[in-house]
Amino acid sequence: MTTTVSTPSSIIPEPRRPWLATPRQRAEVFAVIFIAAIIDISLVAITPLKGKLAYLGLFLIIYPALDYLVVRAQRGKSAGSDALFRALVNFSMAIALLPIVSILWTVWSRGHKGLHWNLFTQDMHSASVTDPVLTHGGLIHAVIGSILIVVAALVVAVPLGLLTAIYLTEIQGKFTRPIKFLVQSMSGVPSIVAGLFILAAIVYPVTKTFNGFEGSLALAILMIPTIARTAEEVLLLIPHDLRETGLALGGTQWRTVQKIILPAARSGLVTAMILGVARVAGETAPIVLLTGGGDTTNWNLFNGPMGTLPFYIWKGFGAGTDESFQRAWTGILVLLVVVLVLFALARFLGGRRNSK
């Protein structure tokens, strides 16, 4: 092609993204925010509305309105509505974030004051609710109790959850659809109902006393759907070829599942368990109903009341003294760290699986 094109084809120009906002447009956005803030502050000054919430609430109204008017004047009505909606959508995200930021900040700022080594060496059997936090008592009994109860719940829930997942993915019998549906419905069972059920089915007719294992059973009910659904997703990700390969090699279905499918899904199944633990670690209502909640370290799941982290927090909150509130906040901090670690672990394993 004989060309007289202005740019010689040997020179490659810089890639541009002309659709991104120019500095000038960014400056305009900031100007609108700035003006909205000024109006906001002056409105708070001249009206009876006062406080942080007033600043926030008014800004949530003033900024979208101002943005709408500016954009509408520049580019017309539909662009104006678009800008208004964009502002609302951004604010929604901010509002949804607000609680989590506040929770993390509050838990840290109130909880860290009660952190000390005694926490993890002492229990509460000799500390009263008015004893100073830093010298008296700890939550080792709660940590031990929580671990025991959650591990026992895992022992009950993992086989059932896993079998459910294997049934849904490997057997696919005539109950597949109803079971899928039931598992979903089961994940909506309120935790207090699970507690009441153990109360009705085991405590009153059989044992007549409270112990840790009863709590484990209630937690297992809450855990099964989480484990089953996550494990099902993981097993579905395993390529169908692998199953056929196993069968084509003359393996039985049992050997195929045992030797090929489950090992291939191992990290995903661990993720499922972690998510199950994270789901129930902070569960309070059934624990309050069933475990008795002792203040002494108890290593026996089947005998005597057992303290747990949620119960420790619950009790501290219920006692109502400054010291007990402090204990509750510190307990929440410990619980939150546990949940965050579990969550990060599940993310890490899940992420590694996805990237494979």
Binding site: M1, I12, E14, P18, S78
Partner: protein, 287 residues
């Protein structure tokens, strides 16, 4: 595809392409013409990958230009730069200018929604809005862009007539578009694009999902429309390019970024291509 079969259609094609002549070997002028759609030195990237290199092309009012070439040669990317649909891919970048009536559509102050009103687009797969009736579909653009029209019924009829669909759907304008056949759906999509009265209509392989009968109908529609607007059509089907277009541009990628190899009168591209690669392609030796 053999040349013998191509010839008779070529002759009929010559008659329709008498509108505006790009003399063979015409190249975009260095100065903007100020009318119609002009692409100037268009490059495109996805992330680090350079997919389209230095394409300059003028599109004249009242003509149909076909973009042909094997898969992955950048022709779809190119057509999507012409109404700024390119930027929906998150990693996309570009260089060059697209001038509509002499104004760069990528200028910072330009309202992109207004550009897309002037440069409409029809996609590979028919995509009517399933939540809307046939009539609502046709008039969807007006609603989306907040445009007011005096007489909606007249516009509805006009658009459906221009798209060649009026007679087939006039009795069921208030039924849902999903019940139409694939070809009818695609013509409904064309009618939908027409309702906002675009200057230019981009068609990205509009017939690739259709059966031959529906394809023919859509091609008839394109021929009818070509007198009143600029049409740019990407196609894999060389017979289709020969049947509907006045000008043809051939795109090719040799593994690197796609480039425009040759542009000219459709019958010249198909009968006397100047570039060996074009000839290889149009005679079916590869691609």
């Amino acid at each position: 595809m053999s040349e013998e079969r191509e010839k008779p259609e070529m002759e009929t094609q010559t008659q329709t392409s008498s509108l505006a002549g790009i003399a063979s070997g015409h190249q975009p002028s260095e100065k903007a013409l100020g009318v119609g759609l002009e692409a100037r030195g268009i490059h495109a990237w996805f992330g680090q990958k350079h997919v389209l290199k230095d394409v300059s092309l003028d599109f004249w009012a009242g003509t149909v230009t076909a973009l042909i070439g094997p898969s992955g040669c950048g022709k779809s990317t190119f057509i999507r730069t012409l109404n700024r649909m390119h930027e929906f891919i998150p990693t996309a970048a570009m260089a060059g200018q697209v001038l509509l009536d002499g104004h760069d559509i990528y200028d910072p102050g330009v309202d992109v929604t207004k550009i897309r009103l002037k440069v409409g687009m029809v996609f590979q797969k028919p995509n009517p809005f399933p939540s809307m009736t046939i009539a609502e579909n046709v008039l969807a653009g007006l609603k989306l862009a907040n445009l007011k029209v005096e007489n909606k019924d007249d516009l509805l009829q006009e658009c459906l007539e221009r798209a060649g669909l009026w007679n087939e759907v006039k009795d069921r304008l208030n039924t849902y578009g999903g019940a139409l056949s694939g070809g009818q759906q695609q013509r409904l999509c064309i009618a939908r694009s027409l309702a906002v009265r675009p200057q230019v209509l981009l068609m990205d392989e509009p017939c690739s999902a259709l059966d031959p009968g529906s394809t023919l109908k859509v091609e008839e529609t394109i021929s009818h429309l070509s007198s009143s607007m600029t049409i740019i059509i990407v196609t894999h089907n060389m017979q289709q390019a020969a049947r509907v277009s006045d000008y043809t541009a051939f795109f090719l990628s040799d593994g690197g970024p796609g480039e425009m190899i040759e542009v000219g009168n459709t019958n010249e591209i198909f009968s006397r291509p100047r570039d060996q690669r074009t000839e290889n392609y149009v005679t079916g030796r590869f691609g």
